[in-house]
Amino acid sequence: MKKMKLVMVGNGMAGVRTIEELLKIAPDLYDITVFGAEPHPNYNRIMLSPVLAGEQTVDEIVLNSWAWYADNRIALHAGKKVVEVDRVKRIVRAVDAQGAATEAPYDRLLVCTGSNPFMLPVPGNDLQGVIAYRDIADTGYMIETARTHRNAVVIGGGLLGLEAANGLMLRGMNVTVVHVMPWLMERQLDDVAGKLLQKSLEDRGLKFLIGAQTQELTGNEEGRVKSIKFKDGSEVATDLVVMAVGIRPNTQLAESMRLHCNRGIVVNDTMQTVTDARIYSVGECAAHRGIAYGLVAPLFEQAKVAANHLAQFGIGRYSGSLTSTKLKVTGIDLFSAGEFMGGEGTEEIVMSDPFGGVYKKLVIKDDKLVGACLYGDTVDGSYYFKLLRDGRSVSDIRDKLIFGESNLGDAGHEGQNKAALMADDAEVCGCNGVNKGTICKAIKEKGLFTLDEVRKHTKASASCGSCTGLVEQILMFTAGGDYSATPKLKAMCACTDHGHQAVRDAIRANKLLSISDVFKFMEWKTPNGCASCRPAVNYYLISTWPKQAKDDPQSRFINERSHANIQKDGTYSVIPRMWGGETTASELRRIADAVDKYKIPTVKVTGGQRIDLLGVKKEDLQNVWKDIGMPSGHAYAKALRTVKTCVGSEWCRMGTQDSTQMGKDLERAMWRMYAPHKVKFAVSGCPRNCAESGIKDVGIIGVDSGWEMYIAGNGGIKTEVAHFFTKLKTAAEVLEYTGAFCELYRQEGWYLERTVHYVNRVGLDYVKKKILEDHEGRKALWEQLQFALDGEPDPWFDFKEAAVDTRQFEKLTPA
C-alpha cells in the first residue's frame, strides 16, 4: 500500500512531539517531511535560559538529533522557511537562505509555526543591538554581546525577561530590567511574592525600573542602540536591548493559506483546523477554545491528541489545560497556579517570612482551593496543583493546608525538600536507590518530560511515591517547563480511558458481574486487561456484588492466589491469625513442630503481634497450614490484617477498658474482609495507647467513660496520624461504627487506596456525614458488611469455596 504523506511546517517541540507520538502508535502510516526555519534539529526551547546562563550548552538541549530524523526516515529540511501552501493542490513550498525552493505534496498537514516575540512599537526598535529572546540565534547574539559590551536593558519583567536578565548578568553584564507593571511577573505572582523576587534578584546584582514606560531607543552613528529613554524624561545608557514583553501566535503562513485565525490558528478538540480537516495545528500557534498555550504540558497533551487522530484512531479529545508556572532561575523557587490573586468571594491563607525568604499564599473559594502562589519553598507545588485540579473540599484539612503535604512523616530521602541543593550522588528515591545524578542523566539522554516518563525509565518515585515532589523539581530544573500534565481524570491503566470511579459506578449501575462483562461494557482496549486493572476490577466486582459476582483467582496478585506472601527467592511466608495477638502453648507447639518438620529457616515476630514463618516452599504451604491448624492471617491480602491490642484492664493496672477482648471481637467480626488495600486495627485500653492506635486504619482507645474512635491513620511510607472520629459508649457501638466505616471504604475506595488516601479524597466531613449523622445509613452499611462476610471461607482450609486452585502447589515433571 502506498503510504500517505504527512508534512509538518515548523520543527519545534510541540510538532516533533506529535510525530513521536504518531510513530509510537502508527509507525508506518506516513511518509513524513519536516520543514524548520531554524538550521537546527528540534531542541528544548525552554532550556535556552540555562544555555544563556552558561549552565548548559546548545548540544545538551537538543531533543532529537539529526540521526533521530534519519532513523525514523523523516525528511528534514532545516533552514528552509515555508512561504506558501497551496491547499487545493496540497503542496507546500519552502525556500532556504539562498532562495532555492523546495516543494512537498501532502495528504495531511501539521502547522506548528509557534509564536513570534512581540516588539514594542517604539522608535528605534529596529536598531542594531535590539533583539527579542526566542531562539538559538538570539541566545547566541546575547552571549556574543556579553563578551564585547558592558550594559544591557531587558524590557519586560516576566518569566522570559527575568531569565534573560539573569543569564546576561551571569555573563558579566550590567543589567537593568524595565517593567511597566507595578511588580514583577504580575501574571504569575501576587505583589508580595513579586517584591520578594525583586529583592532576591537585586541582591544578586540586577537593577530594576518598575513602572517605567519606554518612549524610544536611540542609536549611535553606526546604527547601534546607545540608550533607552522613558516617558518621564529619564534615560539609561545601554549596548543591548532585549525585548521580552510577550509573544504572539505566528499565524502569518496560516493567514496566507486562509485558515481561520483568531489569536492563533483556530482548532477544534481534535486539533484540526476549523477551516480544513486535512490540516492540524498544535503548539503556541494554535488557538483552542480561545486560548493559545505557551507552556509545554498543554502542548504535549495537544500533541498526543493530534497524533491519535493522524493515526486514524479517532478517540482522543483535547479539552484544555490548567497550567502552573515555575521560574528557571537557579536558586530561586517560585510556583503559582490558578486564581492566585484572590478577589471577591475568596479567602486567603497566608504564611509570610520575608526574612527567611518564604512566602505561601493559598486562595480558597467555596471550601475549595482555587489558587496558590509559593515563593522560596515550592516542594508542595504539585500537591496544591493536584488539590486545585481535583476540586475537592479542603474544609477538613484547612488548618494544616498551608504546611503542605510533606511536612510530616516523609521517609526515604533524608527529609530533603529542595532538589536543587542536593548533590548528584544524593539519594532521591530510597525505595529504588535512585540518586539525583541518575535522574538528571535519564532526563537529558532520553528526553523525558513528564513524571510518568521519569518513573518508567528510572523507577524514581515509582514505588512509594513519597519523593514525587523532589523528582518533579529535578524534572523542572533539568527539562524545564511545566511538567505536571496529569489529566484531570486519570485512567486506570493503559487498557482503558476510564478512571477508577467510572468503573466502580458502571459496575453498580449496570449490575456487571464478571470481568469480561466490565471489559465489554466499558470497551476495554485489551482483550484481558493487564496486571494492574484486572485485580482492581475483580475487587470492585466482589465488593459491589458480594455472593453474586464470582471471584477470579487468576486476576489476583500471586499472594492472594497462593494465600501466602511471596519472598525474593520465590518461597513464601506464612502468618497464622492470632486473635487480638493472643496465643496459647498448644498453638506455639504446633508452630514450632511445623518449623522443624518443614525446615522453615526464619521465624519472626511481626509488628502486628503475630508470628511470621519465612522461607516456606510453595509445595509445603498446604501441609504447613494443616499442621499449624490456625486460621489464615490474611497477611498477604488486601484485607483485614492484624488487630493489635494492649493487655488492657484484664491485667494492666492502668487499663480502663478490656482492650484485648474488644480487639478479638473486632477481629472475629471482620476477618476475611477484602478491601481496596490492607486494613489494620488497633485497640488500646487507656490513653497511654500502647497498641499505637493513632496510626491505624481504625484505632480504638479506651477511656474511663467508653471508647474513642480514630480513623485513617497510617504508619507506612508517610506517617499519618489518624483523625479523631467519634466517642462511643459500648463495645457493640465500636463494632457497628468500625464495620460501617470499613464497608463505606470497601464500597467507595479505589483499588490500592489506603483509608488515609480515601478519606483525603472524599473528605473527613463526608465520612462523618455518612457514619455519624446518617444513623440508618450506618446501620445499613454494617449489615451489608456482615452479609458479605457471613459464611466466607477460610482459604487455608476451604479450598473449593475460596476458589484456591491447588494445582499450583504441585510441580509438573516431564514424562
Partner: protein, 128 residues
C-alpha cells in the same frame, strides 16, 4: 530430530495462568496458557531479579513478574521497554491437547543460572 517430552494437558494449566515444570538440573521452567489456549514456556526466572514468572499475572501474551512488576513477553521472553533483559525461552509443541517440551532444551538450556537465595542461607553464602 528433537525428542518431545509430554508435560501435561493444556487443561492442566489454568486459563491465564501457569504451572511449574521441574527439571533434573537447573531452574524450573514455567508453562503459561493464555485465554486463547496458546501455551508458552520460559525459564521461571525474571531477567530483573530472578523472580518466579510462573507466579505472575498473565494477560494478552505477557506475564507480569510478581516481584517488581516487570512485564515479560511470553513469546520471546524479553522485558517490555523501557526495562531491558530476556529470560530463556523453550520450544513448546501442543498435540492432541497435550503440552510437550523439547528434551534436549530441558536438559541443556540455562543450566548455569543459579536460583535466588534469601534468608540465613544467603548470609552464609556471602560469609563463605
Amino acid at each position: 530430530m528433537s525428542e518431545w517430552k509430554k508435560i501435561c494437558l493444556v487443561t492442566d494449566i489454568p486459563v491465564l495462568g501457569s504451572r511449574r515444570v521441574a527439571r533434573e538440573r537447573g531452574i524450573d521452567v514455567a508453562v503459561f496458557r493464555n485465554d486463547e489456549d496458546g501455551v508458552f514456556a520460559l525459564l521461571d526466572r525474571c531477567p530483573h531479579k530472578g523472580g518466579p514468572l510462573s507466579q505472575g499475572i498473565v494477560f494478552g501474551t505477557s506475564v507480569a513478574c510478581p516481584l517488581h512488576n516487570w512485564t515479560i513477553d511470553l513469546e520471546g521472553g524479553c522485558a517490555k521497554a523501557p526495562d531491558e533483559g530476556c529470560t530463556q525461552k523453550f520450544s513448546v509443541r501442543v498435540e492432541g491437547g497435550a503440552v510437550h517440551l523439547d528434551a534436549t532444551e530441558l536438559a541443556t538450556l540455562a543450566l548455569d543460572l543459579q536460583p535466588v537465595v534469601a534468608g540465613p542461607a544467603a548470609k552464609e553464602l556471602t560469609n563463605a
